[in-house]
Symmetry: C2
Subunit: 428 residues, 2 copies
């Protein structure tokens, strides 16, 4: 498994800060669920087939344990076993997780997600809250060219039931195929449905219905009114209407798309579902996704509580941001390097280092007692912009000789001028 080196970690920390700020504004409180869970907890969400995709082992006491593969399971397991938390409970997390996957583009064995969940509310405000939060997160990291594709599982399920698809197994298979509609060619979709013995007119009905797509508050009119005689469809439709009302008040409706091909792959969603796509990164898949999962709490704990939430991959977001060139200037490189002309200058140099650090300036200096030339090479190879040269002459004159490596400029400055210059260059 790979190390996260300073360059990448610097970007990760920048993204984390941008996301955390939005979490804070929305009143989500950050936690970190346990890294290790009982294997049965991990299996509860996705079934025992998850074993194949995760790191699991027996501990010295013989218990089967696994490394978390997402943050939702742990957060939900926690709140579903607690009676002391006032509802709704708004929690968020940004942390690493593990999957025993063959590593491939935009998928790693150790990766990071951000995650926000609301437990205890059935109202569309809660769904609007996580969707609005997601959009503000994308805006705050600078991914402004995106759309949020929204649907409702109840609406789709009701529609499938009206077509005579009623067994849980058939419904789940149908959802899994619908989830692929925009990802694989149409012929393959049809083939998959045929393999399930779906009749051709049913398949074409499904393809027609799931192709409904347009601005959320407009395309909702395209949903055939006669569907609403079905209770499940009606409920799903009303949830969408409620959502629209809050998203309009939040001034978030413009980038929201109704897209009835969105169902989310995983089985436990049961209401509003959504995915956001960065326009420059359709190839890496959804940049975030979520929805309502009112049944999971009871599976993972003692408490039956409605829930809705969202999660997104940090590494995928990083790829989108890299393509935009937004992460170029993020660096952990020190602001200034102090180079000593000779050994007699080192004592004075150490004192200046200490002064600069006290002022909050990221300062490095020679730790190897090298020649001035070697010191300059080192500072250069690290990419440090400013090198301050301290020698007997500079000490005598009470000045600092400052080289701006980016401009090949050299100036003699007083200590105060020197400090000001470094601090000023932060904002340029």
């Amino acid at each position: 498994m790979k190390d996260i080196e300073p360059k990448e970690l610097g970007k990760y920390l920048w993204i984390k800060e941008k996301i955390s700020e939005i979490f804070r504004r929305y009143g989500f409180q950050m936690m970190e669920p346990s890294t290790i869970e009982n294997l049965e907890t991990l299996e509860a969400k996705c079934g025992p087939e998850i074993r194949e995709e995760i790191y699991w082992f027996k501990d010295k006491a013989g218990r089967s344990l696994g490394l978390r593969f997402d943050l939702t399971v742990g957060m939900t397991r926690m709140v579903a076993n607690r009676y002391d938390l006032p509802e709704p409970i708004k929690l968020c997390a940004i942390a690493g997780m593990w999957r025993y996957d063959e590593p491939q583009f935009a998928r790693y064995r150790f990766f990071h997600q951000w995650d926000a969940e609301i437990y205890g509310s059935i109202e569309p405000e809660a769904d609007a809250e996580v969707i609005s939060l997601s959009m503000d997160i994308l805006e705050n990291v600078g991914l402004k060219e995106y759309e949020v594709r929204i649907s409702n599982r109840k609406l789709i399920e009701g529609f499938l039931r009206l077509l005579g698809i009623n067994s849980t197994e058939k419904l789940e298979s149908a959802f899994r195929i619908i989830d692929k509609i925009t990802k694989i060619p149409k012929e393959e979709i049809v083939k998959k449905f045929l393999e399930l013995n779906f009749m051709e007119f049913v398949i074409s009905k499904i393809l027609e219905f799931t192709s409904i797509r347009g601005k959320l508050n407009e395309a909702i009119e395209e949903i055939p009114r006669d569907l609403l005689k079905n209770d499940l469809c009606k409920k799903g439709y009303e949830e969408l209407l409620g959502l629209i009302e809050v998203l309009e008040a939040f001034d978030k409706i413009d980038k929201c798309i109704l897209d009835l091909s969105i169902v989310r792959g995983i089985g436990y969603y049961d209401g509003i579902v959504f995915e956001a796509y960065d326009k420059g990164g359709e190839d890496i898949g959804a940049i975030l996704g979520g929805g309502r999962y009112d049944r999971l709490c009871k599976i993972l704990g003692k408490k039956d509580m409605p829930a809705t939430g969202v999660a997104g991959g940090i590494e995928r977001m990083m790829i989108s941001l890299e393509r935009l060139g937004s992460l170029k200037s993020i660096s952990q490189v020190p602001e200034v390097f102090l180079a000593a002309v000779d050994d007699s200058s080192r004592r004075k140099l150490w004192k200046i280092v200490n002064e600069l650090r006290k002022e909050g300036i990221a300062t490095d200096f020679d730790l190897k007692r090298r020649s001035l030339k070697k010191q300059m090479e080192y500072a250069n190879s690290l990419g440090i912009r400013y090198v301050a040269i301290i020698g007997p002459k500079e000490i005598e004159k009470g000045i600092i000789r400052l080289k701006d490596m980016s401009k090949h400029e050299e100036n003699e400055l007083s200590f105060e001028e020197f400090k000001k210059k470094i601090l000023k260059s932060r904002h340029s």
Copy 2:
């Protein structure tokens, strides 16, 4: 393994920020070594007995892997196998790690450390750098009542060799006993030495020598001069002198103590070693510790590189800070809660929520369409200080009714006054 709940995580994030700021000033670049290592890498530092204390397992390909138990091994394994990094390499990390311990006070199965390492310098500047960094970290989190106890392994090893203790095994056993000198009663120390067949005059010489203790730049005079005829002792002594020179220039000498009972338990240290103790927390042990380990790189990689570093436990630091009461005001609770008087007011309320969040104010509101009374109870149970009440009357008058729950005050404010009041209260 436990979840890190919002209250604790808030404190952890606060501490992490304070430490990161000092890392930045010192020009250390943050990375995160792999969470999972080959078992043999983990064993290289401490021997195969480490298996008993860590989480390890075989993966699906049959490889023996383990969860990291510290950050030093991963960082050192990385740099020792890389030829592209300009030396010295200054790296730092703050992250979680796992030990299969019986959980006990101030020891957990999943815990966090901060860690800073310098690879590639043999000069005392590098040791001074990590000690000075450690001290600034303690100052920056607000633990100002501490001392750094410093010694040198070469000095102690030379002294032991002069007493005829020459085998690696005996030396390592002696170091392990010396490490316990301030932690267990003197009789037990003597007993442990006797079990190793150390002669009584040798034991009393060791006890006398390791009791040398005082301000670093003064107590160094107490080291018997005739020891310096021994090369190893002389080297260790000179390293201490070099360290003093830099720590004086860094204005850090006052809280530095020479304490020859400090040797660090683990075998691989071979020069300057140190531990810092919080005066209010001697019972939880060293709050940080480190030293020089010039031989570890070659064990973990291809590259032979001197190294010196420091690490400290975040949870221990948290205990010390809790005792001082410094973490009391840290909270993730939203700044304001918007309560709706009736359903007709909700649409307006959502718009105000959106405005406040845009201004950077942490804002929560009712997600359950509850009565005003229930909303107030919820805000109160979360500990939110300000509740803004929005009803038909307030909307008509264009004002906000603001309750300060801490002072039981209520005021009618314009939106602008309201925002100002919330922002102002942040700094009070």
